[in-house]
Symmetry: C2
Subunit: 86 residues, 2 copies
């Protein structure tokens, strides 16, 4: 593995795990009043399209990174529904 | 352009613009108490690495989509600092 591959993996790692501190915060606060549900709806749509794109292109890194993001952001969306104002 | 390219562009469009509703919400509420600043710090780090990766690989779509995301998320980080609790 050369340094460009490592750079790409590091970049993908950061953008994939970024939502974890938000999940942690929402989990602890049990409040999501200042968080936009539309952000996660658009993200989940985009990530689903990326996974579909990866499957069609047979591109494993695209499927893996976006698949993990999809799971994490779907869980965040679940917290949004759970803790959001009715 | 075949339908796979259109699928990829649509996927990239969604994941790029997703933060806009969050910017809009924070701008209106002037409160970010339930939003994680660490999410945006990690995102900005990852997006910067993606732009660097795109520059090294001479990959224009990677530079463009991640560059736009970087600008949008940096603006959101500015709102976090502006409206965050001191």
């Amino acid at each position: 593995m050369n340094y460009i591959v490592i750079l790409g993996l590091l970049a993908g790692f950061c953008t994939t795990i970024a939502v974890i501190p938000q999940i942690r915060k929402s989990w602890k606060q049990k409040k999501v009043d200042n968080v936009s549900p539309l952000m996660f709806i658009i993200l989940i749509t985009g990530l689903s399209l990326w996974v579909l794109y990866g499957i069609i292109q047979n591109d494993f890194p695209v499927i893996l990174t976006n698949g993990v993001s999809l799971v994490l952001n779907s869980f965040m969306m679940y917290l949004m529904i759970k803790y959001g104002k009715k």
